[in-house]
Amino acid sequence: MAAKFPDFLVTKLDWVANLGRANSLWPMPFATACCGIELMATASSRYDIARFGAEAMRFSPRQCDLMIVAGRVVMKMVPVMQRIWQQMPEPKWCISMGACASSGGVFDTYAVVQGIDRFIPVDVYVPGCPPRPEQLLRAVIDLQEKVRRTGTIDAREFADRKTYEGPANLARQIAPEDTMMVPGDFTTATRLRD
């Protein structure tokens, strides 16, 4: 639709849309572990995420535009996380909250994914174990800034991000004879090569 309007008008439309979106983010709380407790604290009266317009947490991804992944994600959860991400309507953003969601944290084991950015795109990372509510609020403010600066009314800024943006493969940490090379899909990804 953007192509039909002259540039200056599109810019104004973007600005209006960003104003609305940035000040009314609807988080989807994907809380899988202890960070979720801190996420709840952020929403409660003392820290009050409502001051930043992001208090409307909805447990249906179809009504949300900000996914907050709070906690470690295990490989059994990866397809679920991706499904929920894909069910959210564009434009949407993702905050990776805590050491575990961002990097696996101390759980460098066979089941725990070493950072959710290997599987879904992440906009803001929040360090800490768990991050304090102030840090999460800061992440929301940073994300609002990002929306205001880069957002567009028809979410066209996402369309050309067609390459993988996550970290490099961890396969080098595993001895080659231990590596499993079956190309992954959801039914065979944990199978060993014959």
Binding site: W85, Y110, A111, Q173, I174, R191
Partner: protein, 163 residues
């Protein structure tokens, strides 16, 4: 010697070897007589099966067998506890299920099977309980690498433009 220990020794002779460490009484049972021993203990009042878990003795100093399965039993009337251990070996570590004696062993045996690959013969529904069903390894075995074989990152990626 407690009463149940004396009774076990009388009935099973040297199929039960006892060991005491800080008031914990452990009993090492020969695999052939295992189910009989458990039935005997149940009849003597050990009515609660607290836990079933496995041990992999690979690289363990002076270990003769590869696997151990440990059962913790409690007599809820007298408060006595007993730790029963059986030893198993490759290629197919298998032990009779105690499902006929304590129904509560159901998920604990499934977990032990999931993590160690120990087969509980006679279990009504021996499936994986924690790992995905198509998983083929047994992750708590000592010859399985801590970080896995790359399974955890072997999934398709969602790109930003996929939406």
């Amino acid at each position: 010697m407690t009463a149940w220990q004396t009774k076990l020794t009388e009935t099973f002779g040297d199929a039960c070897k006892f060991e005491t460490f800080r008031d914990n009484i452990r009993c090492d049972v020969r695999t052939e007589r295992f189910l009989e021993v458990m039935k005997n203990l149940r009849a003597q009042g050990f009515d609660l099966l607290l836990d079933v878990t496995g041990i992999d003795y690979l690289h363990y100093p002076k270990a003769a067998d590869r696997y151990g399965v440990v059962y913790s039993l409690v007599n809820t009337e007298s408060g006595e506890r007993a730790y029963i251990k059986v030893r198993l070996n490759d290629p197919d570590p298998a032990v009779p299920s105690v499902y006929s004696i304590w129904k509560g062993c159901d998920w604990m045996e499934r977990e032990t099977y999931d993590m160690f690959g120990i087969v509980f013969e006679g279990h009504p529904d021996l499936r994986r309980i924690l790992m995905p069903e198509e998983f083929t390894s047994f992750p708590l075995r000592k010859d399985y690498p801590l970080r896995g074989r790359g399974e955890r990152h072997n999934f398709p990626t969602v790109l930003r433009s996929d939406g």
